[in-house]
Amino acid sequence: MSRVIGIDLGTTNSCVAILEDGQPVVIPNTGGYKTTPSIFAVTEEGKRLVGHLAKRQAVTNAKNTVYAAKRLIGRSFDSPDVTKFKELLPYELVQGPNNDVRVRVAGRVYTIPEISGIVLREMKRVAEEYLGDTVQQAVITVPAYFNDAQRQTTRDSGRIAGLELLRIINEPTAAALAYGFGRDKTENIAVYDLGGGTFDISILQMGKGVIEVLATSGDTQLGGEDFDRRIVEHLLANFQEKEGVQLRGDTMALQRLKDAAEKAKCDLSQLQSTEINLPFIAADAAENALHMSLLLTREKLEELVGDLVERTQPIVQRALDDAKLTVKQIDQVLLVGGQTRMPMVQKTVATFFGKTPHKGVNPDEVVAVGAAIQAAMLSEEKEGPLLVDVTPLSLGIATFGGHFAKLIERNTTVPTSRQEIFTTTRDNQTAVKIRVLQGESDRADDNDLLGEFVLAGIPPGPKGQPEIEVTFDIDANGIVSVSARDLATGRAQSIQVNPRGTLTPEEIERLAGAYQQGEEVAVKG
């Protein structure tokens, strides 16, 4: 039987793990690193690189190096987030035929699932090399606040990489699984996950081999990369002021600034101050070389990003409220994601919860380990921890006047089903359109449309008289079924909501086929 791996597909780095003889093992790549940069690049000679090799050449080849693709996954091209993000990226974004985001690398246009698929394929290869066997199935993690389209597009990426995804689980949940593995204590825990691109908070209770998610919340547009960007902005402004030169349009300079910012940020987790030196960053009007040299203190950094850290607090409170727990009832706080290494973040969390966060987990690896545990639990019938999960976003239908009627609230434990009765709004109306939505806004249009169908054949009558019963049902796999029934005639119509990613099934199959056929990516390290 082929083994099932757990993959943490991160914004910045990815990690793969497996359960071996009941023990989680984080699998190192050929270079001996336990995490691999989620970066894809094409060199001038047309060679494709992924991982550390791609990262190493990023500065000299910024235009053709794609990083942080996860922030674009499942998003539409004209969304405000993408528009904002586009300005800051050294690589070129183009609009796809489905209004999806694509990137142009060395003259070829790639879809986002393809880029993520390339990274996943690399993780699959790392695992196969270690196991000496092919791997076809995986459990993969996503930020808790990913919507259906983002989850489905992640699934599509797996498909392109030749992986069947048994389950997609939330990153903080995976971290809790890893923490709870082999632990018998009954506890309430909070997982504070500040990664490269997203912030997630989950509240769970565990004991007796069961881990139950009580609530989860987050912000898909808040992460370590935002911290880096704040530093870059600071460097740009500082340089403009000192030298009168605007570096914003210079992709190579921007890439160097980004690298320097990230490094300085990491240094400042240990040191009180660090120096940023970037020689020959630009030239002035007289073609004289200009250098950047600047001292960055921890204090200044905290001033630059303080509001970002602050932004997490109300989200944590909301998760606690949803879980019906108070801060005092939390027994353990786990920190996940590289950005939680920052002392300011740790201090904020410790102050909020009134206790020092748990030190035992490796924030870079714990999510992949949790995914591996869930993989084993599903595929090998292990007595391993059983995960009782919740639905991350509210589900409902659009109603008259553009309102959103929620039938299933976010953080509802799955499986579950709910019913409501609706009626017509016009006299002699013989059909109703059921539009299935996901999101938190009361306005229908602000939420994501998951699917729609029409229930016809309603006998004509005055408005408000027909009774249309709408039922939502979510199974343990998170698959949503919606049915509508005219109670007078018994006529019914139902759909299984097949979440749509940004690619059509045909495109996915074609890409999966192409990569299967050995459109090989140069790899090593």
């Binding site: 004991g207 069961v210 009765i421 009626t423 759909i495």
Partner: protein, 344 residues
């Protein structure tokens, strides 16, 4: 995006009815029983906790139930119709926990329960999948209703009626499949399918009647099969044979010869005397005038040191067959002290 009609769903149901199921028989039975009982269970029953249970007790019960009934436990298994039953059962477990873990919801739910126990209540419609206390009678839900010109909350009952009809349709499919198996002479399979039908629709008299007819035959069939296997085992693995015969004895509780045979077998096994006594008593009660059964009972009680009972059975055996010297001898070998006690 796939859209399907009820007709398709029904034919899927029929296909599932004949499918292979990768669950132990005992667990299949357990799921059927649970699903069958759902309509009459309140949230406390569903979690198996008393009405006055502490929050920690409710949480632990939920964890325990999750470990047994969460569909993920059987992720790679072929579940056939049990997938759906498990889904329904676990949904109720979740709903029960959702309400009982929240003191406000629990209070409202407690007030909605009649003070009498489940047994004394008439059979009620299944509580809605929406926890009662969460049904929108006020607040956001109510405003939604008025905005849409919705009918009174009483309509939820109508929707339950629909839900019930869906279950009935499913039950009918299982029943149809059962009748097919019955025609083929597969009584065991037929009985299982009727039980499934009952799990979906516990109130249909026709199913109960049919089960009453099929079950004894299915059990007899299974018992004879088990006995055949036991005969083979008797030559070697006597403990294994005893286990199989016990199953057979459970399936045919009125077979005195079987009970006797099992008792003799158990008496020869280490630690088997206690059970042997149970089965030999059964044999005797089914045929009180049987000398062999009485003798066996005497022998088993003698071995277990209960001289009083041994004497009773042996004396009866002697009355039935005064010419049997063995019985006389056995009576004499019983310790005298007991006899003394008896007379004193």
């Amino acid at each position: 995006m796939g859209s399907s009609t009820d007709g398709e769903a029904a034919s899927n149901e029929a296909a599932k009815a004949g499918a292979r199921v990768d669950l132990p028989d005992a667990f299949q039975r357990e799921i059927r029983e649970f699903a069958k009982a759902l309509p009459s269970l309140n949230y406390y029953d569903v979690l198996g906790v008393p009405r006055e249970a502490e929050p920690a007790e409710i949480r632990d019960a939920f964890f325990q139930r999750s470990k047994t009934y969460h569909p993920d436990r059987y992720f790679k298994k072929e579940l056939g119709p049990y997938g759906e039953l498990l889904h329904e059962v676990y949904k109720r477990i979740v709903a029960a926990h959702d309400v009982l873990r929240d003191s406000k919801l629990r209070g409202a739910y407690d007030r909605s329960l009649t003070p009498t126990t489940a047994e004394s209540r008439p059979v009620v419609l299944p509580p809605p999948a929406v926890p009662v206390s969460r049904a929108p009678t006020s607040g956001r839900g109510a405003s939604l209703r008025s905005r849409l010109g919705l009918k009174s909350p009483g309509l939820m009952l109508v929707s339950l009626q629909r839900q019930l009809e869906q279950s009935r349709a499913r039950a009918a499919k299982q029943f149809e499949a059962a009748m097919l198996q019955k025609k083929n002479g597969d009584w065991a399979r037929a009985a299982q399918l009727v039980e499934l039908a009952l799990a979906f629709d516990p109130r249909e008299k026709r199913y109960h009647d049919e089960l009453a007819e099929i079950l004894p035959r299915a059990n007899a069939e299974r018992a004879s099969e088990v006995r055949r296997k036991a005969e083979i085992l008797l030559r070697g693995d006597r403990a294994g044979a005893a286990e199989l015969l016990e199953e057979a004895a459970q399936l045919s509780p009125t077979d005195a010869e079987l009970a006797h045979k099992l008792a003799e077998l158990l008496a020869g096994l280490e630690g088997g005397l206690e059970k042997a006594a149970v089965y030999v008593e059964r044999a005797v009660s089914l045929d009180e005038e049987n000398v062999r059964f009485r003798k066996a009972a005497g022998e088993i009680y003698r071995k277990s040191g209960d001289s009083q009972k041994a004497r009773k059975h042996l004396q009866k055996a002697w009355e039935l067959d005064p010419m049997d010297k063995g019985i006389r001898q056995a009576l004499h070998t019983l310790p005298a002290s007991d006899a003394a006690k008896e007379t004193s």
